[in-house]
């Protein structure tokens, strides 16, 4: 039962993805029709995207229909209900994913490029591992320091790759 329920819940996800795909497809079609035609339409830049748009929109519809066929529509209300969303937000997996993603975003979008790569990496590793409680704090510090050092030295001097 729970297995089937899970399938249905995923099908609800498919409905949402299907709708998004349909919108993307339509957008791509419009965009590609607006692209410049140099000589023939068949070698114009918009030619291929036009087909892609049609196919993606079509596949979006197929996805929605498939979900409809296995009876996911009545579940949409349940899945998107307040209680369920609350449950989703409170779920510790959601929280963990959100925090890990946030640390990654800060690392990639804020830290890198503003400071030396080694410092940014060290900060990222320490904060992620502390949050995950991968090890106790002093081990975390040591592991982070060693791996940062290794990564930087090996890439910069070993492989002669410039660091960000």
């Amino acid at each position: 039962m729970s297995q089937q329920n899970k399938e249905l819940r995923k099908a609800v996800g498919d409905v949402i993805v299907g709708i998004i795909l349909f919108i993307i497809g339509i957008y791509v079609i419009i965009e590609s029709l607006n692209m410049k035609i140099f000589k023939n339409f068949s070698d114009a830049p918009g030619f291929f995207p036009l087909f892609l748009g049609i196919i993606i929109a079509f596949l979006g519809i197929v996805l929605v229909l498939q979900a409809y066929k296995i009876g996911a529509f009545p579940l949409i209300k349940v899945v998107l209900s307040k209680e369920n969303l609350k449950k989703f937000v409170k779920d510790d997996r959601t929280l963990r994913t959100a925090v890990l993603t946030l640390i990654m975003i800060i690392y990639i979008y804020v830290l890198i490029g503003r400071m030396h790569f080694a410092i940014a990496t060290m900060l990222y590793l320490v904060s992620t591992m502390l949050y995950l409680k991968s090890a106790n704090w002093w081990k975390t510090l040591i592991i982070s320091a060693i791996s940062t050092l290794l990564i930087c030295v090996v890439f910069q001097y070993g492989f002669r790759i410039p660091l960000p």
Binding site: V17, E31, F48, P49, I56, L59, L63, M104, S147, P162
Partner: protein, 512 residues
Amino acid sequence: MTSIATQMGLLLSALNGILTPDKILLIFAATTMGIIVGAIPGLTGTMALALLINVTYTMQLEYAVAFLLSVYVGAIMGGCYSAIMINIPGTPAAAATALDGFPLARQGKGGKAITAGIIASFLGSIISCLILIFATPYIYTIALKFSQWEYFLLAFFGITICGSLAGGSSPVKGWIVGFLGFLAAMIGLDTIYSYARFTFGSRNLIAGIQLIPALIGVFGISEVLIVLSERVPYMLEQKIGSVLPNKEELKQITKPVARSAIIGAGIGAVPGAGEDIAAWVSYDAGRRRSKEGKKFGTGSFEGLSCAETANNACIPGAMIPLLTLSVPGSPQAAMFMAAIILHGVRPGPMLALEDPQFLYTTAITLFLASFAMLIMGIILTRPMVHVLKLNRKILMPIVVPMTVIGAYATNVNIFDIKVMFIFGFLGFILRKLDFPMAPLVLGLILGEMADKGFRQALMQGQGSIMPLLGRPIGLILIGVIILSIISGMRKYAKDKAVHQETSTVSEGPAHD
């Protein structure tokens, strides 16, 4: 008769030139280096060659050839370590390896899976080397006939594969992801008129979505998120046991080798299609042909072997158009070509006259590098498994900075790191919804080829498709595509029937 005798003479003198202790030592060292580079997510063979090409300027030709080819061979194989142990392919060519390799690792057969990959790679290289030596003149004429229309058909064939790469979920999801990859490949300046498509006025997007950052994102970042979002991430069993496969497993490994090697060498010989495509096509062919095709994707040694054999078999194959037409079959091959040109070897139709021995030098070097790969690969397996088996809560965070460097290093562009993250996050969400990620990479690789091929073919036909339909190789490809679609639909219908019967005891997806 005389010509065979002269060819043998050339082969022997090439052998003499290479079989010196220092060159063999160099081959071993370079192969090991390649393996390590290939094993690190994001560091690809292309990058390794690009970085090392400077080193070879001062070397003599034979040394440079030995050095570069060994790195190339090692790097393509090395990608399988991380693909198998942490589900993050070290190079694009190893993405298909992860499909079966990682489930095997979770079953506690990580070490064996790696060895299996190495053996398959080795056999693939060897068979393909023989093809290189003996079939080059014939393949040359076919490669010459490969034009834009054929490229388009090859890319189209790739799309038909997407559906069957969907693993447990429906083929529609495979196609969706494949076409999204296609769409992503459209971003940037188009290849014919340099018209900016879907760039939203961003100058960074003009360069398009680079394959490597996208690949590292959807496999690397999304894997890190998936693993770490669990309260208790999975652990790989503690004791490693024997890393050598037993007789039964060996049989599974060797079964698809001949077919996969020929597919690999053939795709390698197509200019512009590289190791990654070879691995996918071979994997798909194996899945269709094998009696145990159903087990593909759940930890099948046969599936693993299909992918690994083909990607390494691709390398000698890629040498054929490189040496005869001076058109490299893959980016790595392009690097190799640049290096030998700098050493005064001009590949192309004149090579057979100017430097007839060079073909043999290349083939023998590849042969030796394959042996080095086999030996060093197996020696390195145990330590690699130890490292990659670390507590995920420690290993996965450390993977992140490596992916950052990998994304950055190809084009030294911080923007690529951001692209990687976005692809990673989207990949994470899609994977949670049971969308397979493999077709995305295929779409990204083939998108430009399909777009360019089709439009350029129509330019050749002055806007009409009719003059193209009579092309012989095109006809063969069209036949293959139709066969592939029919057999795919049959299989799908059959699976569905089976699925409906057993739906009461439906099994969950193996992973995610």
